[in-house]
Symmetry: C3
Subunit: 348 residues, 3 copies
């Protein structure tokens, strides 16, 4: 039986890119059905409150910032970063009941993470590993897609890259992907699927990146960290230069960072970034890769949103699993276990 | 506990401006979930029928007028102003069962009022006082806003003008409004809130209207008449000329007429008019004030529609009340009493 | 009491025009709540499958054709015209469980018909008679309207052409239609309503088609074949040339083919064609008539969609029937009987 909830709550989810949260205007975002208002204080730390004025429920994200506080656009109530109401019009004394809920928040690796669940459990050690995003040995950039689907459809999509051959037939896909099986291992909250395509023709994208003729050894190592982060370690190296044995120095390597935050049960925010370990100072290449990848990811969005609509229209027809879905099945199981563990705790 | 219905039915509600109901085309409007078709007969009286053809339910407002009757666009059934079907195609004799419900209707002060409740109770003495709208001592004009919210959110909004300081910070608001308390009195179906700001700087709007330098005494007298009419008596006079004591002759005075008709539980029509007692023949000023006010009221619409969405998304979170909401609370109580009285009668 | 379902399933419904189903791209259509993907195979026969990939529910109509098979855009599963999965990526052996439902399908008279019900009952003898559509003695063309209403509202509309006087007052309607009664006969699944208007002025449309002055005998013979096909045999001939007695040779005659396929309970596809027995090689006339008729039918669509909305808003108000609705009532009864018969069989 499916768990009722589609996401666990005691998780660090990306709510925004760092550059989206500033000192000039509050930002409204929804994470796990919780509406939040985010802003940056003068000491550069981030505030994350429930996006509802205590008084008349107007979203605080419609208001403005005054110093380190957010001011409601309706009647001017002001709230500090701890959710305390510091000003009520026509009232001199404070009303200690006038509070807005806060959410644990962290900034790391160019992202703003929030914790929608129990604040007492919010441990920074549980942040997913996205270090490539601001590691000086890597260069690149990314974007955000807002999609009308359960975030797990993107997890399924990423855990099985055979879809590249069909969804992305004109760009990164070719027949070798669909024809080569994957090896999947798992441990706790992580699932790793590995595919090595040895001595194959490179698809157009990788051919260009490598800049050399001849057959290649191509790898796709998919590392999932429950519930919603997937890092794709992908690349090619000239056949015979030792990549399968661990020497990637003659090849080119990218890490595609994907973290898909559930907004609601039927919508999500997909944050992604494309980081590479070559031509680090080539901003034109960064821009080209980001925009090219954005185009490819829209192909996925079209497909999974259509899948979501078909699932909604056919609630009694199950999804079927094939060999290619072994990684996705493992990932789903890890998500389900996190949700079930929270449900057990809540029931105690 | 909240009453189930959000509006009383035995009330004269504004359905349209007088000039909107003519002899050329029928007009469709919705008042308290009742769809109505309105038109003007040759003697200038108004007809108000349920907007559904008796035969196949097509809205009669999609049809046309022939003399004093409305003709259904589908099969040509004709109905007179009393709801009687006077013509059925291919039938010679009358069908006395073929009738459409009528609603009591009155025209007064440039508005068309309808009574969606029990016709036997429709007493013209119960019309709200909007006489400024066609009083020769006053000049001005107004418009209609169609808004996606419970009409009572506009009542709350108008009963507490401290919101001017925040919602309308760039036009009519300034800090004196939020800082000066109101006095509220009530009696039967009316609630009156009064705020006098003595010896204050005038905000830009009033400075221009007065046309004189120096500090002013400014007043805001809000008169609510349940369930949905609010007249704002607002103005400024030079400090020391006796306005607080009753002599407004050196100042300028406006009456902002507001009457907000519930269309459905979640939508409303907001009819407003801005009437002044100075420069009566200045049509340019009338047009300027009407358009300027329209812009200000859209600022309110944006806020209360956002409040409505937040309330819908958070049905279990109550609205909280502050000192500034004393008038709104009284107004809500008067509305609730009208609804409760109708519910008791219906239960007997 | 109304039957719960609004349509019978054991019926040949038009799903598309012949020219819409080709060998280059699959076509997605919905018939009786069944989503279908249609394509043309190399032998020109038609395939009709459920429009859901067995694996992850993506609509197959989003995919592409390879030879006689449709390929899923997501992971490349291929299905033949019998619904058998012929290719699964990364799997060598076949999975006989991987099947997609097929629908009986026929091509006839320029239309593609599908049978959404029990395939064992799909008898080509049950096809509705639309032979004028490719009969060499007749010329003409048609189009498709996608409408937001129960298909039966169009049946009501067509069974009583008095609406022409009101809905189409400026084109084909005139007062004679509303003033002349119809004769209705019925037999099994067919209902026939006949109206002869003798020695009358011709409306503008027919005046032009006839190309002669003087009064005419005008006929409208409406033949309904349950559940959703109506052929209008319409025309005029100069009065006194014997048309009422059977000699139409001096007149002009059209057959308006109408077949309205339920997509869902609240939407339909209205396929129509306007066929004539004069000026057979005049393509300009064919185009003119098709476009003129399209404009007239949009007038009907506006009316019946508004009727549908009014019915949805007033679920407890019944439709009333007049003399003019005798044909529609008979047609509705024939539809209800088909639905009831299927319900009885299903209950046995």
């Amino acid at each position: 039986m499916q768990p009722k909830s589609s996401f666990p709550l005691n998780v660090w989810y990306v709510a925004a890119w760092s550059h989206e949260v500033g000192k000039r205007e509050p930002l409204g975002r929804t994470v796990c059905n919780r509406r939040m208002v985010l802003w940056r204080k003068s000491d550069n730390s981030i505030a994350a409150l429930e996006d509802l004025c205590w008084h008349r429920l107007l979203p605080l994200s419609m208001g403005w910032l005054e110093g380190d506080e957010v001011v409601c656009r309706y009647h001017g109530l002001a709230f500090d970063g701890k959710g305390k109401c510091t000003r009520i019009p026509s009232m001199d004394k404070e009303n200690s009941a006038a509070r807005v809920r806060t959410f644990p928040v962290l900034e790391k690796h160019r992202f703003i993470f929030v914790w929608p669940g129990d604040p007492a459990l919010a441990d920074p050690a549980l942040l997913p590993d996205l270090h490539w995003n601001d590691d000086p040995d890597w260069a690149g950039d990314g974007k955000t897609m807002f999609a009308k689907c359960d975030y797990r459809l993107f997890i399924d999509n990423l855990m099985d890259l055979t879809h590249e051959s069909f969804v992305h037939a004109t760009s990164i896909g070719n027949k070798h992907v669909a024809e080569t099986p994957m090896t999947t291992t798992h441990s706790g909250r992580t699932v790793t699927s590995t595919r090595w395509m040895l001595d194959v023709d490179a698809p157009p994208f990788w051919r260009t990146q490598l800049g050399k003729p001849g057959n290649v050894d191509r790898w796709q190592i998919i590392r999932f960290e429950a519930p919603c982060t997937i890092v794709l370690d992908v690349g090619v190296a000239p056949t015979g230069t030792g990549a399968p044995q661990g020497d990637r120095s003659k090849g080119v390597n990218g890490h595609v960072l994907n973290t898909i935050t559930p907004e609601t049960d039927g919508t999500c925010m997909y944050f992604w970034s494309l980081m590479r370990n070559y031509k680090l100072r080539d901003q034109s290449l960064t821009t080209f890769l980001r925009e090219a990848n954005a185009g490819i990811f829209v192909e996925d969005q079209v497909v999974v949103e259509a899948q979501q609509r078909a699932m909604d229209q056919n609630p009694h027809i199950p999804l079927r699993n094939l060999n290619i879905d072994a990684g996705a099945m493992r990932a789903r199981r890890a998500i389900d276990e996190m949700i079930a563990a929270e449900t057990r705790i809540a029931a105690e």
